[in-house]
């Protein structure tokens, strides 16, 4: 999918170059500076005005490049450590419907279709469940399977045993030439 690099018209009429946008995104991926005027600090770092930075951010929110803004909580230190990746082998004709059913469940944080890699990997639907204890997560999964009528689909639960890294994506580096 193409990345979003359209030139942005700031409210003062000046346009923000794609290089300045890339620099701004790179900064934003690391979080806002905790200063009373965080956008002004970012603007100074990127050679932009505060108004241009806010215009970029509003536009990225409107076009969906930014999904949400807020505190990004790390669940593991708080004790939410039972992180289950549930993988399903669903007939291709049913996968979209099964995905949408799983997505209705509050406890499901992520739900994706991915390719099978036969013969080693027959699973084509993935979802994530998070909880404090494994038993509770497994009980929740059993309830979901029942509620959503998925009992006939083969699935496996892969709990995480250790987190070696967990942080936000870094996309805004130098693109390939």
């Amino acid at each position: 999918m193409p990345t979003v690099t359209a030139v942005i018209q700031a409210p003062d009429g000046a346009s923000v170059s794609s290089e300045a946008q890339r620099r701004l995104r790179e900064r934003l991926e690391q979080g806002l500076p905790l200063s009373p005027r965080p956008w002004r600090v970012l603007a100074e770092q990127c050679g932009l005005t505060e108004g241009e930075v806010l215009a970029c951010v509003h536009r990225w929110q409107a076009n969906g490049l930014i999904k949400r803004q807020g505190l990004v909580v790390r669940h593991r230190p708080l004790g939410i450590r039972a992180n289950a990746m549930v993988v399903w082998d669903v007939p291709d004709a049913r996968v979209a419907e099964a995905g949408r059913r799983l997505a209705r469940e509050v406890a499901v944080t992520l739900c994706y279709r991915r390719p099978r890699c036969l013969p080693d990997w027959p699973y084509n639907l993935f979802c994530m469940l998070h909880g404090i204890r494994r038993e509770r997560v497994l009980a929740e999964l059993a309830a979901i399977v029942e509620r959503q009528g998925l009992a006939d689909l083969e699935h496996r639960v892969l709990f995480s045993e250790r987190a070696y890294r967990q942080c936000g994506g870094r996309y805004a580096g130098e693109p390939s030439p």
């Binding site: 991926e29 905790l34 990004v72 669940h75 390719p115 892969l158 994506g169 805004a172």
Partner: protein
Amino acid sequence: MPVDPRDLDALDRRLIDCYQRRLPVCIRPFARMAERLGTSEAEVIARLERLLALGVVSRVGPVFDHARAGASLLAAVSVPDAEREACAAIVNRAPGVNHNYARDHAYNLWFVMTAPDEAVLASRLDRLEATLGYPLLRLPMLEGYHIDLAIPIPWAELEGTCPP
């Protein structure tokens, strides 16, 4: 490092509960948040600094839609248990890796690699695969049905699990 939820008071919890999304995008966002929470801008900033220092919050700001922000891929590799730690360290050293977990399966290391575009992503994965010496299972997202990690924090249940 684990954090005892009892070290987070009512204001910390309200900050988290109210602002996992909809952080105000205005000239003084922390002042706007303080107004709603009935405290001062300086107090909001101090609380956020502490939550970051404790590791409860990894950052404050935008979450980009990864499908539009660049390229990313979930990959898995099956390595002998004795080599798992060393392989995890190699994965962590590769550029763009933002999640890396051991899981209880023959494919025992699972990670997500991100890059500015598909070409950079593919070359990073090829290099990592060569360094590891084991084949990678490459599982790109084909369709997303739901992606939202901003789950409500079950404070009461968390307190119940902590030793006194």
